[in-house]
């Protein structure tokens, strides 16, 4: 009996193309797009340097040395521009991201600690972080120039900014002390996996509501089938479906993404824990879907109700936008989303190589969430029956 129930449910899913697209194609695309889009937010590398035009009336040879110094970096590309250049045009055509305008005799004055200043001009839509970074970068370079000048005068060995920077290194601390680089893939794979696992709601509510609105549910209820059998017959196939999603999305992260120029997914922690989290997330997603399906009267209602709540939960839970870029208040609010518990557990294992102890709290919350919604669905069905 169970075999045929499962067979039926699988056939229904496999013949529901919309559901397959939502369950497999959507997360694949999201993982690819978001991994590539967020690549630079995670890795501290810029494949495109910002172009900066410099206008100056200083003595050319002294200024040339300063320009060389400025260009020793991986973020900015400084170029001298004619004083007649129309600034607005240079910025609006995006030839330059920033224009620096320096007071006359800037170099001489700064070394002599006399009146010298730089004005940064940009379009209004540049990221504030870029401006702040540029300002900091310029002030450091100016300080360096001054120090170098004094060193020459005092005949001291100069301590350059570069050599200071070498003294500061950055290492990500991992649970098993294997340092590696965090990549955007490690965030986007679990994120969109969770998101699409919750979309198991679509096929569940489709079949459920069709059964309800046609005579199928009446027929089933007029037969000797316990309610628990009906529920189990729903639970298992969708659980298997969810695990299939996990498997596929891990493959996308590990093998497909590198082919497209992204980083390959590296899993620091144990695969067993990953499977455990997947199972718990699946139980939570299916329970949630079952309750949405029981309270909805039509597929449209289920899609709107379930779709909207899924998107809300994911926006809150750090799926759409990584939590690290959220302000503190939003990070705190995101704690109420079950998707956030799921994501934290996945990240703990994938990125930090965490152990069961690190994720048990989140798993417990997810199971509680599942229990609440499963009971809700069960009680509604049972109440409607009697």
């Amino acid at each position: 009996m169970l075999y045929h129930t499962l067979k039926k449910e699988f056939l229904l899913i496999l013949r529901n193309q919309h559901a397959l697209i939502v369950l497999f194609v959507m997360p694949t695309l999201f993982i690819i797009i978001m991994s590539l889009a967020l690549q630079n937010t995670y890795a501290n590398k810029y494949d495109v340097k910002l172009n900066i035009g410099v206008q100056s009336e200083s003595n050319a040879s002294a200024f040339g040395a300063f320009m060389d110094k400025l260009n020793q970096n991986q973020f900015f590309n400084f170029r001298l521009i004619e004083n007649e250049t129309v600034i607005e045009e240079a910025l609006s055509t995006k030839t330059y991201d920033f224009i620096l305008s320096m007071t006359p005799n800037f170099m001489e004055n700064i070394v002599k600690n006399e009146e010298a200043s730089i004005q940064i001009i940009s379009r209004s839509d540049v990221a504030y972080q870029q401006v702040a970074f540029l300002k900091q970068f310029l002030s450091l370079k100016m300080a360096e120039m001054v120090i170098e000048n004094f060193s020459t005068v005092l005949n001291l060995k100069s301590a350059t900014q570069a050599s200071f920077e070498e003294k500061i290194t950055h290492t990500y601390l991992l649970k098993d002390n294997h340092p590696t680089q965090i990549t955007s893939v490690q965030h986007s794979v679990p994120s969109w996996l969770i998101f699409s696992m919750f979309f198991i709601l679509i096929p569940i509510s489709n079949t459920f509501i069709n059964e309800k609105n046609f005579g199928t549910m009446d027929k089933l209820r007029s037969m000797n089938i316990p309610l628990s059998g009906v529920m189990l017959g729903k639970f298992i196939p969708y659980f298997v479906m969810n695990q299939l999603q996990v498997f596929c999305m891990l493959l996308v992260g590990m093998y497909l993404l590198p082919l497209l120029g992204g980083d390959a997914l590296v899993i620091q922690g144990s695969l067993f824990l990953l499977m455990l989290i997947s199972a718990v997330v699946s139980i939570a997603a299916i329970s949630f879907a079952l309750s949405i399906a029981t309270i909805s009267n039509s597929s449209e209602m289920a899609t709107i109700l379930g779709g909207t709540s899924n998107i809300m939960l994911s926006a809150l839970g750090g799926i759409m936008v990584p939590k690290i870029v959220m302000p503190k208040l939003m990070q705190d609010i995101s704690e109420i989303s079950p998707m956030s518990w799921a994501l934290d557990s996945f990240l703990e294992v994938i990125v930090n190589g965490g152990s069961f102890g690190d994720i048990q709290h989140a798993l417990f919350k997810l199971l509680t969430f599942a229990l609440c919604f499963f009971s809700l669905a069960y009680l509604i069905l049972k109440y409607r029956r009697d």
């Binding site: 045929h4 039926k8 013949r15 069709n210 027929k219």
Partner: protein
Amino acid sequence: MAIHITHLLKRYSKNVVLDHLDLSIKQGSIFGLLGPNGAGKTTLVSILNFLIPKDAGKITILGHDWDKNQKEIKSLCSLVPQSYAFYPTLSAYENLEFFGALHGLKHKDLSRQIAYALEMTALEKYRHKRAESFSGGLKRRLNIAIGLLNNPKILYLDEPTVGIDPQSRHYILNVIKKINQSEGTTIIYTSHYMDEIEYLCDDIAILDHGKIMFHQSKEELMKNDHIATLHLSDESQKEINLYENYDALVDVFCEIKEKSLHVKELQLPKNSLEDLFLSLTKKELRD
């Protein structure tokens, strides 16, 4: 008796749908339940199949108490709901396989019952086609085929011919007759098509306003359908059988003439079920 119902009451808040209904249905018969829209036919069938609870009354089905032996009753009966009860994206065979398995059938038993259901409803040709691609008539037949899987002692058919053409209708009626004759299955058939019920059923009841307004066997119904009644001037009545030969007719009229009476009123037989139905349920339009 296949089904025995006494004082069955069902109400939705203040709306009394089944009003202390009494009904007995003979085993092995084809019982036709006629009633206008909203009469309570589906409600009655749903209660008998445990889909909704009753408010009062006693029901016995095949000797089992409805309140106590739900499981036994369910295994002996089968419901063909008013709306389609199958999965449109599955083929006829896959649907039958699923429902058969739910009845606890396995392996050979399952294949045998599927073959039987397909044969009875002449769906063999379409077994591997998806149900969504079926015409209305084929869908109705699949609905019935699913109802046959557990060899029920009682088969409930709730308006199984709604929305199909006369050919398919005729075919389905004959399928139902065949099931009744070959297996002795008691059939409970609801409809608002008088002609169907008249053609198919041995036993006919008319349900309206939650009450059985009329319940007779077809024989009895037919018996009356050729008796005309003459109301005579001395307030007496004479019945004449329109099917008998002329001699008898002549006798009746001679007798009237002899007594020098005259006919005040000639009452023709209620010869069709439709007349009966309309006279019992009035002609008002139902919601």
